[in-house]
Structure formats: structure tokens, C-alpha cells
């Protein structure tokens, strides 16, 4: 426990130190706010412009979460199909790798072409970008299930569904939650990219306009909001993961000899 506090303290100190060095460097080298605003300026801007920033924040959060939810839903279904059979796994993997290696920025213009600028491309980009990590992890979790564990159920005359529900899915849970943490941060990337390229609202769009007006502190304020939302959602999923899949993080000191 003592070590845990020490580590927490050290990482907090590192974050505070980072902003302190930033602030002091700007003052010491006389860096203009057009190039790199001081953290204190950014925070002041954040508070000053907060009422105007709220709708953008809500918009980005909304498109991200909707896209993420759709992506996870589709990802789980595809992952289950691929992971439950060796053949499907081997057959579908090359296609998946190919699709995933397409830079997701490149698909935004296509979505704009199909659905027009605005909310829909942002949701779809967030969705597309969060599907892949979920598919890969769910499929891997299912495909790597120990055959011995399946044998336990097979001797009990369990059906394929029984095995999936009682062994495959619980076994894949740690993989699934690990992918959620990755996917939710990626979903932000997706919706912000779409907002920047073809949005009329959202943090990405706001940052684009602010930078065009050389309002650099406001641009950075957008960055801060994105970071805060990203951290927040990551923590939510990390907490759920810890509750649901605590068994996978076994601690050696609790085991008995």
C-alpha cells in the first residue's frame, strides 16, 4: 500500500512539474502566446469562454459515445463470429488487417460524400475507428481459450452455446475491457478528425476556427477539454474493468503456498 501512495504521489508531481516547466519556460524565453500560450493563460481562456465551449464539448462527447457504442456492438458481434471458429479466424484475419490499416482520416471525405457534413460523419468515423481493437481482442480472447476448460464442459454434455456463455465469453472479458480502454480514446480521435475536416460543431471544428483566427489560447483550451474527456472515459472503463475482471489480475501475495 505504501508503494502505491508513493507511485501516486510521484505521478501527480510529474504532471504538476510538467505544467510548471511549461509555464516557466514560456516566461523565461519570452515565448509569444501566438506560438505557445502559458498553461495559466489557457486555463483563464477556458473559464472565460466556458459558456461558448459547452455546446461544442457536448457535441464531441455525444458523437464520440454514440460512435463508440455502435463500434463496440459491431465489434463484439464480429469478434464472436471470428473467434468461435478456427477457420473463420484464419479466413477473416487478412481482410481485417487490411481494413484496419487504412488511415481512418481517409474515410471521412467518403462519409461526407454519402451523408453530408455534420454529426453523421463524426459518429461513423468514431465507430469505424473503435471497431477494430474490439474485434481483435474479443476474437483473440475466444480463440485462445484453453481446450482443457472446454473439455470440462464437454464431458458434461454442454452445447456450443453453453461453452460460449460459460467459458468463452468470461475468458474473453479481460481482453474485451482492455480493448474498450483503447477504443474509447481512439473514438475521440475519430470524431475530432471528422469535426475538423467536415464539421460545423464540436471541439475539433472550434479548434479549427480558433486557429484560423490565431486565437491560440482557445485552440489549446480545446486540447485541454479533449484530454480531460479522454482521461475521464478511460478511468470509467478502467474502473468497470477492475470490477468485472478482477480475477485476471491475480495478486501473488494473496495466494497460499
Amino acid at each position: 500500500m505504501k508503494r502505491w501512495y508513493k507511485e501516486r504521489f510521484a505521478s501527480t508531481a510529474l504532471i504538476v512539474g510538467f505544467f510548471l516547466v511549461w509555464e516557466l519556460a514560456c516566461v523565461a524565453f519570452g515565448i509569444s502566446e501566438i506560438v505557445l500560450p502559458r498553461p495559466s493563460q489557457i486555463i483563464v481562456t477556458l473559464f472565460d469562454r466556458w459558456p461558448a465551449l459547452v455546446p461544442h464539448t457536448v457535441q464531441t462527447l455525444y458523437t464520440t459515445l454514440v460512435g463508440f457504442a455502435l463500434g463496440v456492438g459491431i465489434g463484439v458481434v464480429i469478434g464472436m463470429i471470428i473467434g468461435s471458429s478456427r477457420v473463420a479466424y484464419d479466413v477473416a484475419f487478412p481482410l481485417l488487417v487490411g481494413l484496419s490499416s487504412i488511415p481512418k482520416v481517409a474515410v471521412v471525405p467518403i462519409f461526407v460524400l454519402w451523408f453530408g457534413a455534420g454529426t453523421v460523419p463524426a459518429v461513423l468515423t468514431a465507430m469505424v475507428i473503435s471497431i477494430f481493437p474490439v474485434v481483435v481482442n474479443v476474437a483473440t480472447g475466444l480463440a485462445t481459450t484453453e481446450p482443457e476448460l472446454e473439455d470440462v464442459l464437454r464431458t458434461l454434455r454442454a452445447s456450443r452455446t453453453d461453452i460460449l456463455v460459460n467459458v468463452g465469453l468470461p475468458r474473453a472479458m479481460p481482453y474485451f475491457f482492455a480493448s474498450l480502454k483503447v477504443a474509447v480514446t481512439l473514438a475521440f480521435v475519430g470524431s475530432v478528425i471528422a469535426e475538423t475536416v467536415a464539421g460545423n460543431r464540436g471541439i475539433g471544428n472550434m479548434m479549427l476556427i480558433a486557429s484560423a483566427n490565431f486565437n491560440v489560447p482557445l485552440t489549446f483550451a480545446g486540447l485541454f477539454i479533449l484530454a480531460a474527456m479522454g482521461i475521464g472515459l478511460y478511468l470509467v472503463f478502467a474502473a468497470i474493468e477492475k470490477r468485472v475482471t478482477g480475477w485476471a489480475n491475480r495478486k501473488a501475495e494473496l495466494a497460499m503456498g
Binding site: L149, R154, T155, T245, R250
Partner: protein
């Protein structure tokens, strides 16, 4: 769903006639069973025309050099593998056509790491009929008590709520035995369940298993490479030759039960072990001579 319904329907009449039937024919009859793995050049014959009868309520130990196909027999009976040739009958009918309750324990405890020890033990009640139908109603009452009582019998009384990784290997294996027996199986299949344990834990678990067997009296097929274990636990020891496995000796062991560690020091026990050991040694020597010939063919 329909299949399950039909199964229960089929099952309804037999209990009345079952006792006579079991006297008339063995619970398990293995008839000229062969099994080959792989194909072409990599073909390995694991079992060659093996036949074995196991009467209801018997405790049979299968011993032999490693790779002789003793585990293969167990897996065929458990329907984890299908034989390439030959037939396996259970209660007089072709395996697969009839559903008997099987409990199985493996060399590794194979407990599901995300379930508590109690939930692991209750797993057969959740999956197999007729317990399955009442699962929702009884999982927090009768089934739970049943699992706890069994855990208490093997000395895991205070550990029902623990997770597998919190227990030592021997304790996990005890839990695994409970899981194999909680649904009172007709047939208990044990695949070297104590193979990975130290001597003292192993001998302790022999007694645990003997006590549970004397209470429930399932038919047991035990695969082991420990001769003392087979002589201590079984009513009958079946010795198999090296690959491809065939049965070379079928020995009855009639020491009085409950047997204890003292039994293992008796001169006839030692003599039996000695005799079996030399038989297996001969079988191994014969086997190693046969392998080059097999490769050439």
C-alpha cells in the same frame, strides 16, 4: 430445447429396469477400439484393437508407460474423442445414443479462474440434466449447500468463496474432485488427477477419493502412472503395453477397504507392485523395439 425434452422423455422409464440391466451387462464395454491421430507419414496409432469391460460400480485403474493410450481410452469414453474403429457401449447401447452422467477430473485442476471455488463445484449442476432444469430455483439453496457439504468433506470448508488462484495446487485438485462428483455421476473418469502433486498431498488425496468413492459408489476409470496409487485405490488394475496400446495384464486387487497407508507396506502389496513394475518394464522394452519397425512401415 427439443432435444433436451426428448432426452428426459427417453430417460423417464429406464430407472425401474436399470438395476437388472447393470447386472446383465457391464456399464462400459470397449470393443476392438483403435484410434489413429494425424494422417499420412505423421500417422500415430494411439490405440490398437483394445477391448475392456467395466462392470457397474467397479474401480478400474489403467496403468502403462507414457504414450500407451490410456488417456485416449478415457477421452473416448468421455466422448472427447471418437474411435477410428471399434465400438464403445455404455449401459448396453452405443455411446452417444445414451446419456449417462459423467464426472471427470484432469491432471490440471482446470478450475474456471473467474468463478469462486463454490461456483466451480456447482458447474455440473448448472450444465447437466436433470439438475439444470432447477438451476435458477436451487442455485442459492440446495445446490449451494450440496457444494459446500462436499467441499467440507475434502477439507475445503472455509474456502468456498475463494478464487482458484488463491489456493495451492493440492487444494485446487480437491476442488476439482468435488466438481467431478457433485452431480453424483454414474461414471467417474480420472485422468492422472494426482500426477502433478507431491507425495504427501497425493497420499492424502487417495484417502479423500477412497472415502468419496465408498460413499457414492460410482464406476471409476482411473488413469495413472503411479503403481502404488493404482494398487491402493482400484479393485482392478489393467496394464497396457507401449504404443500402440493393448491390454497385457488384468489384475484384481482385493485388499479390504478402507485401505490406509499401512496397507502399502504389507508384503503382498509390495510384491504386487514389484510384479506390475516388471511387467511394465517388459512392455516398454517391447515397445521401444517396435517403434523403428512402425516407422519403416
Amino acid at each position: 430445447m427439443t432435444e433436451a425434452l426428448q432426452r428426459t422423455a427417453l430417460h423417464a422409464p429406464p430407472p425401474a429396469t436399470a438395476p437388472e440391466a447393470s447386472v446383465a451387462r457391464p456399464l462400459i464395454r470397449i470393443e476392438d477400439v483403435s484410434l489413429t491421430y494425424g494422417r499420412g507419414e505423421r500417422k500415430v496409432q494411439a490405440l490398437s484393437r483394445t477391448s475392456l469391460d467395466v462392470p457397474n460400480g467397479d474401480f478400474v485403474a489403467l496403468v502403462g508407460p507414457s504414450g500407451c493410450g490410456k488417456s485416449t481410452i478415457l477421452k473416448i469414453v468421455a466422448q472427447l474423442l471418437s474411435p477410428s474403429e471399434g465400438h464403445v457401449f455404455v449401459a448396453g447401447r452405443e455411446i452417444g445414443a445414451v446419456d449417462i452422467r459423467i464426472g471427470m477430473a484432469f491432471q490440471n485442476p482446470t478450475l474456471l479462474p473467474w468463478l469462486s471455488i463454490r461456483d466451480n463445484v456447482m458447474l455440473p449442476l448448472k450444465i447437466s440434466q436433470p439438475f439444470r432444469s432447477d438451476w435458477r430455483r436451487k442455485k442459492n439453496g440446495e445446490y449451494r449447500d450440496r457444494a459446500d457439504a462436499l467441499l467440507a468433506k475434502v477439507g475445503l470448508g472455509g474456502f468456498a468463496g475463494h478464487y482458484p488462484w488463491q489456493l495451492s495446487g493440492g487444494m485446487q485438485q480437491r476442488a476439482s474432485l468435488c466438481r467431478a462428483l457433485v452431480h453424483e455421476p454414474t461414471l467417474l473418469l480420472l485422468d492422472e488427477p494426482f500426477g502433478a502433486l507431491d507425495q504427501f498431498t497425493r497420499e492424502e488425496l487417495w484417502d479423500v477419493l477412497q472415502a468419496l468413492w465408498m460413499e457414492q459408489k460410482p464406476t471409476v476409470l482411473l488413469v495413472t502412472h503411479d503403481l502404488r496409487e493404482s494398487a491402493y485405490l482400484a479393485n482392478r488394475i489393467v496394464v497396457m503395453s507401449a504404443r500402440p496400446g493393448r491390454i497385457i495384464v488384468d489384475e484384481t486387487v482385493d485388499y479390504q477397504r478402507p485401505r490406509s497407508i499401512e496397507t502399502t507396506f504389507r508384503s503382498d502389496f509390495v510384491e504386487l507392485n514389484h510384479r506390475l513394475r516388471s511387467l511394465i518394464f517388459e512392455a516398454r522394452a517391447a515397445g521401444s523395439g517396435a517403434i523403428p519397425a512402425g516407422v519403416a512401415a
